[in-house]
Amino acid sequence: MGVAVAKRAGAGPGRTSQHRAWGWFIDKLGSRGWILLVLFLLLLVAASIVPDVFAPYDHEAQSLRFRLLGPGESSPEGVHLLGTDSLGRDLFSRMVVGARLTLFIAVTATLIGAAVGVLFGLLGGYFGGRTDRLLMRLGEAQTAMPMFLVAILLLSLLGPSVLILIVVLPCLVWPIFARVVRAEALRLREETFIEASVATGCSTATILGRHLLPNVAPRILVLCVVEIGHVMLSEAGLSFLGVGVQPPDTTWGLLISEGRPLLAVAWWLTILPGVLLGVSVLVLNLLGRYWEARSGAAG
């Protein structure tokens, strides 16, 4: 590992050990590895759009005689690849169906957070001064609050629902978008082409929307991919604690939660959805960092 790191990925001083670790992964992926990552994500997206194609059984069909079957064991219906849960429902089918809500919440919440963060970041970075201080203090204030606890509080008070999740989760990510976009906007506004567009007669809206935004878009995209993973984890955490998604809806986090009391007798109910969640987050992270590294090298 050491050689590979020193050779390519961890190049340059000032790189943290975290960067080096990602660098090692990216190094292993080679130049085409991202295709595998994208394929995995496409599979997830496909599963959430047409779960019936992927799920071998009805995810709600119960069978008390064949509860807690281990991975690979069979019921009269056939082989249960990943076993069954305490009500005899096929775990694989439930994981496939759970992908939809898991992805939907993560993507929607991230996009909302990104929209808010990008807008604030552009405004703060371009105008600077008081606007900038106000918006950034707002972000810092929010970052300083333990948002996860606030989310639990809110969800317990208002009652858990998918809608409230989608309102609360963006609060976790918008400051990250705002910071990144602000830094880029601060750098870009000193560029001559921004001055040139003022001289041309562009309005502020045109400058923000047509000049700054397209120039920060690649970074936003990368950040989105990474943050979808983080939001996914947060949603899983909230659902695990019982304040997130409620049955009969299901997400991977909820599956983990449902399996937890049976961990000693049916490990697969907790471990397998956990692995899927972990792998998905890892893939999103890798893909984001991979693109970042590639675009950084190119431009």
Binding site: T192, A196, A199, T200, G201, S203, P214, N215
Partner: protein, 340 residues
């Protein structure tokens, strides 16, 4: 009629080290179809003056009148609407173009933001502008990074002229380019000026470029214009020791080159003083071989050289006594030396 009148413009900046006056009471005017060359060393405030005229930096004092409209009195929106009448070409051709826009979008942007024409008309105008500046139609879909430096600057010029402005401000438009390309860009500007009857403020530190293009010349030193006049007056009979020094410092391949450079060294002593602590009285006195006590005490006002209604003016207490020998005529070698 003057299309552009700049009156007593002062621009100050706050820096970490203190307040500096980058432009200190500059007045100038431009007539239709006329080119004014503005020369001076790096850091003398040329570019800041250009930005002040374009209303890109705030002025502490003074006014900029474009076609009898005081730009400083306009609201932001009104100013924005006026901008198609005054456009600018920047020094850094690549940096002044949005890296994510292709050539036709870049050139078409001024038309789009000023709501000129419909889509088809704009496309026609863009194609026309590209032809005027000598850009092949094939580059219309390219990004700035896919163009050569000369082509990038042609895009910059096309963008500046596409709205048919009255005034074009060129801030060192060729100094970032290869020498072989410079001449091409200069020729483009030369032709456009005649074709579109543009009033042009041409800023450069390269005197040969300025001489080629300018009807009139203004010489700037530490934020002030120290000498102004027609190109032949200023280049032929410079009155200010700084102007004379600048002109003499241009290397030329002839027999007097070495003598001229000696003259330049004698007339421009030492380094440019800091703008943070400008000299009292005459700004140039710290580098001037003719400086006297009077120069330290009083700032010389602009005085007309020759007839009072003439264009030639100089800011020097001693211009009458410094008999400036013209560095321009080539016939006598002794004329290169300066007599007091």
């Amino acid at each position: 009629m003057s299309v552009l009148e700049v009156d007593d413009v002062v621009v100050e900046f706050d820096t970490d080290a203190g307040r500096i006056t980058a432009v200190d009471g500059v007045s100038l005017h431009l007539d239709t179809g006329e080119t004014l060359g503005l020369v001076g060393e790096s850091g003398c405030g040329k570019s800041t003056l250009a930005r002040a005229i374009m209303q890109l930096v705030p002025m502490q004092r003074g006014s900029v009148r474009l076609e009898d409209t005081d730009l400083g009195s306009l609201s932001r929106r009104e100013l924005r609407r006026m901008r198609h009448r005054i456009q600018m070409v920047f020094q850094d051709p690549r940096g002044s173009l949005d890296p994510r826009m292709n050539v036709s979008a870049l050139i078409g942007e001024p038309l789009r933001v000023h709501g000129i024409g419909d889509r088809a008309e704009r496309a026609r105008e863009v194609a026309e502008a590209m032809e005027l500046v000598g850009l092949p139609a094939a580059v219309a879909d390219r990004l700035p990074s896919e163009l050569s430096g000369g082509q990038q600057q042609r895009v910059g010029i096309a963008r500046a002229i596409v709205t048919d402005p009255a005034v074009l401000v060129c801030d060192e438009p060729v100094s970032a380019l290869d020498v072989s390309i410079q001449a091409q860009i200069i020729n483009v500007l030369d032709e456009l000026r005649d074709e579109l009857s543009l009033a042009m403020l041409f800023i450069a530190h390269d005197l040969s470029v300025v001489r080629h293009l300018s009807d009139r010349v203004a010489v700037m030193y530490l934020g002030q214009i120290v000498e102004t006049g027609t190109a032949s007056e200023v280049f032929g009979q410079p009155r200010h020791p700084y102007t004379h020094g600048l002109i003499s410092s241009v290397p030329r391949a002839d027999a007097e080159s070495a003598a001229r450079l000696r003259t330049a060294r004698r007339l421009v002593l030492g380094e440019l003083p800091s703008l943070l602590d400008p000299p009292s009285g005459c700004r140039y006195r710290t580098r001037c071989p003719y400086a006297t006590d009077q120069c330290a005490e009083a700032e010389p006002p602009p005085e007309p050289v020759g007839p009072a209604d003439g264009l030639h003016a100089v800011r020097c207490h001693h211009w009458r006594t410094i008999v400036s020998a013209a560095p321009e005529p080539q016939e006598s070698a002794t004329s290169q030396e300066l007599a007091i």
